[in-house]
Amino acid sequence: MNIDTFVEKELQRIGALSSNTLYPCTTNLSELPSLSWKKLSVTPLQERTCSGKTPPTHATLVEKEGIRAWILRTATSIAQEAYGIEDSERPCIAFPHRTESMEKALWFYENNILPLVSSANPILTKVHMEKYKCDSFVGSFKTLSMHTTLLPLSITHIHIIDSTVDVAVLKSLKGKYMVSCTLALPEFGTLGKLDMDNFSESHLSFEIHKTAHIEWGESALATKLLPLPTPMLRYETSLHLLPDTNRTSHFTLHE
């Protein structure tokens, strides 16, 4: 969808909701100030939520910079994310916070894949991964590190969804598993999928997800091209993203 068309429609939708105080009355993306996590999270929930008449399906709790806030999602918007996950029939899901695990579980379910959500106890998780013959592990780098040595033989795929990249871990997994790595923020969703065939410490290139529009810079601004209960327009990612000079459909992540 054309970014300007989306933003115009989205701002009209938001503007029609009297509870909104987060976004100013404008129809132009360039006139919209950037949105930081701090600003978003300190705005009362009712004033930053634009559900309209449809209640949200789920609330993911996000904790960043010492602030906890709920980000509301609908089943539709969750289903429309793409985490670069293919060929997964029975994933085991493990994210640091349970609401994020629930959200990812809902994504799989909406995409007709039955998930198994892990326990905080990796040993019990292993028992159940074996029992239910899980073929893939889906989590962040942090949760992966808790389970790596306990993955059963049935696991053939590892899918990492995180706001950072640990190149050393990816290199250690490559060759043993089919690995995918998606750059995403729990409050925003997917930004892009890592090119696993060509990555290094100094070169991390991601294919931009179709639902993300990115404005490059020291702190890239991202707009989620989905009508969300918690709209993400010109959101400050705190990530240093630049366009990939070799491919217009990609961006690179820098320290």
Partner: protein, 383 residues
């Protein structure tokens, strides 16, 4: 019942690793995940939550808030099961203890407009209601039809008190639930009305559940043993009497719950004390104390729940009593009542009243059962 052996929670924990006693549901292709709950023992128990397990329980939305020790996974999977278990549009999320103090809680509940809230222990419900009252959020409960408490022994008075705190359109339900087996039975409102003893609970077991008491004759109290489709002859650790008499609500069996079988576990104001913890801290004093009883009081007053620990000691010593009391006080206050909280922490946060240590002449009359740990519930007019 058949010759399946009687099993306890410890057996289930071992069974997870050797699959000896634990039988997952036969629709394993539908399994969403598994929950662990330490319950009263502090040890993890793993079991399976089927996809459709709770799908007939909720109408259109649920918020889960299980705050008891070791119930965090129960929180996740109850919410997840609800989220994925219904054919119609549904919504679900789960809360943690810190969220009960969040100023946005009322707004979240309002946005979600759930039909059900599942919350445990009852102290968490108090905290939730307190938050909503203080932040003008009680209206957010307008969509709510039911509040489910879980797996906590509540006397009639405690239950009625909680019910008085919630808006009248909401039904408060305190089914008899075990983490290992889910719902065993439901409280019968008729029995609650008729009972002369406000400290007992009366449960009708579900049709799929068989109940018996261990090693006793009918109508005599004993340890309650339950058998469900997935778990046979499970010793609950609760003392009960089974009344086989038709109830006016047409249930054929009633379980009269008397409390914990060996009085070794008490919960109050969100904390849990084990008899073994107390024994451990009082062991160094065995040369000066000949007997003791720890009374844990849970007080309800103006929407606030607080706990208090009172240690009654019998001693023949007459000198240095004050110092002995101080040492015991320190030891008791160091006891951990939650994963991140000691008795002292709870006192400092105002959740518990200060601990007291009293010297008494006698605790147990000759021939009477010794009760090392006891819970008392009180109402108060204090803030």
């Amino acid at each position: 019942m058949n010759s399946t052996p009687y099993i306890s929670k410890d057996d289930i924990v071992k069974g997870i690793y050797n699959e000896h006693f634990y039988t997952p549901g036969d629709s394993s292709t539908k399994t969403l995940g598994f929950k662990t709950a330490s319950g009263t023992t502090g040890r993890g128990v793993s079991l399976v939550l089927e996809r459709a397990h709770l799908s007939d329980k909720f109408t259109f939305g649920v918020i889960t808030a299980f705050m008891r020790i070791g119930m965090q996974n129960v929180n996740t999977f109850t919410g997840l099961s609800a989220l994925l278990g219904l054919e119609t549009t549904v919504r679900a999320t789960s809360l943690e203890y810190e969220d009960l103090k969040n100023e946005d809680l009322g707004a979240l509940i309002q946005e979600f407009a759930p039909s059900d809230i599942m919350i445990a222990p009852s102290a968490s419900l108090h905290a939730l209601l307190k938050n909503l009252r203080e932040n003008d959020g009680l209206e957010s409960l307008s969509s709510l039809q039911r509040i489910y408490l879980g797996g906590e022994y509540l006397s009639k008075n405690q239950f009625l008190f909680l019910q008085s705190l919630i808006p009248s359109h909401i039904t408060l339900i305190n089914d008899y639930v075990l983490s290992e087996t889910n719902t065993i039975g439901y409280n019968c409102p008729r029995w609650r009305e008729l009972t002369q003893n406000p400290n007992l609970e009366y449960i009708h077991p579900l049709e799929s559940v068989e109940v018996e008491t261990l090693g006793t004759t009918p109508n005599e109290p004993g340890e309650l043993v339950v058998s469900t489709p997935n778990l046979k002859h499970y010793k609950t650790g609760d003392a009960a009497r089974i009344i086989k008499k038709l109830c006016v609500c047409s249930a054929t069996h009633t379980v009269e719950l008397l409390g914990r079988i060996d009085y070794d576990w008490v919960s109050a104001a969100g904390g849990v004390l084990h008899r073994t913890q107390i024994e451990e801290v009082l062991l160094p004093f065995r040369s000066v104390i000949s007997d003791y009883r720890v009374v844990v009081t849970e007080t309800y007053g103006k929407g606030v729940v607080r706990g208090k620990v009172t240690v009654l000691c019998v001693t023949t010593k007459r000198e240095r009593l004050h110092l002995i009391q101080q040492d015991i006080l320190r030891a008791i206050n160091n006891i951990r009542i939650a994963s991140t909280k000691t008795v002292r922490d709870a006192i400092e946060k105002g959740i518990f009243y200060p601990t007291t240590v009293e010297i008494v002449e006698e605790l147990t009359a000759d021939g009477a059962k010794r009760i090392p740990l006891q819970k008392v519930v009180q109402e108060t007019n204090d803030e």
